[in-house]
Amino acid sequence: MDQLADFLHLDDEQHPAWQFASDKLEEIRSLGLKAEGCYRFFPVEKLDIREGTVAFPQGVLSPRPQVCGYLRDSAQAALFLCTAGFYFTDESHAYNSRDEILEGYIVDAMGSCSVENAMDRIQQQLSREMEARGLHISNRYSPGYCNWPLADQKNLFALMEGQPTPVRLSESCLMAPIKSVSGIIGIGEKVKKREYGCAICNNSTCIYRRLVHK
């Protein structure tokens, strides 16, 4: 609830949004929903920070110089997909269709927190696996952030072809379920985990910057 409250900028436990969120979280926990995610390893053939590209034997991604800089010293990369499923978006739409817009907004925010939490766990698991082999991982980076063009997500999905999650990509690079994330994590002996999110992104108009840093 604390994470959700931060996300929603709620600091008043008496606010109806807090009460609804608290009750809804209990309801959702009882449903036993499970997020699904996976990652796949690729050897890095060439990381061109200046060009902003990372080449694998199976294909090339173009995350642009900023993200490539954060992948410095990666000998391999884990591409990942993770989803909280359709529940949150469907439930949010159901509330909105009944003009319960506050409730719809909160459930949508729950979906965002849910998929990020699930991805945190996947990243931690990856970190443990790699540390056991004496390797370090970078933070995770996603198309659409830090100037990584959203359109490059098509190349990422091509590299992940046959992956086991239900996440699919539309022509406009919108993932279905909407509450999904995709991206890359660098792996190597000298890889460093740097700050992530708004601290390193210069997109001043991004909605998440507004949500997080208002």
Binding site: G144, L174, C206, K214
Partner: protein
Amino acid sequence: MSEILDKLFECVEFGKINAASPYPPQLKGQDGASEYTQKALAQGFSPAEIMDTALIPAMTKVGQKFSENKIFVPQMLLSAKAMNAALVYIKPYFSSGEIKRKGTFIMGTVNGDLHDIGKNLVCMMVEGAGWDVIDLGVDVGPEKFVESLKQHPDAYVGMSALLTTTMPNMKIIIDAIREVNPKTKIIVGGAPVSADFAASIGADAYAGNPQEDVEALERFREECA
């Protein structure tokens, strides 16, 4: 302004829906927007007076507070709920013509994009500012915008995109609208959209938040007056 309209203003500003609503604490046990609206009508205030001196100014203040980062989305949405509780008793006067609306605003999220939160906030605030709103939904292509505009030729148009990949669709829609009605005023917004981008595709305004949509519409209305 009378005390009862002052109270109604306060209920909408702070999201006091009705007498049973326990929130906000400072208004607990008091009537809410629902009761004060009924009382104001019973006391002879005209629906237009209630709208113009209490409801619209209250939502304008909410929009300003949001744009100044003094409140956030949950607080704004709670105010909208209080506004809607009041509008239950006011809306019948919209259709009777007793309350003159400022105009019609057609709004949609562009094709290829399914995000609706920003669009919904804009629709809510524009309606709260005294406009008729036609919400076309998400994944709306040029045909649907044009069709709606044919039915409401004097309407203003708003469109939203949250993906860089769907931003170019805004230009396609604007071009289609201009073919039908070159004078239609168009506002664009959404996370990746900027004022520069808006100008480059021929939009008449860029709105970075719902209040800026309301302000742009007011400007358009004054220009047309």
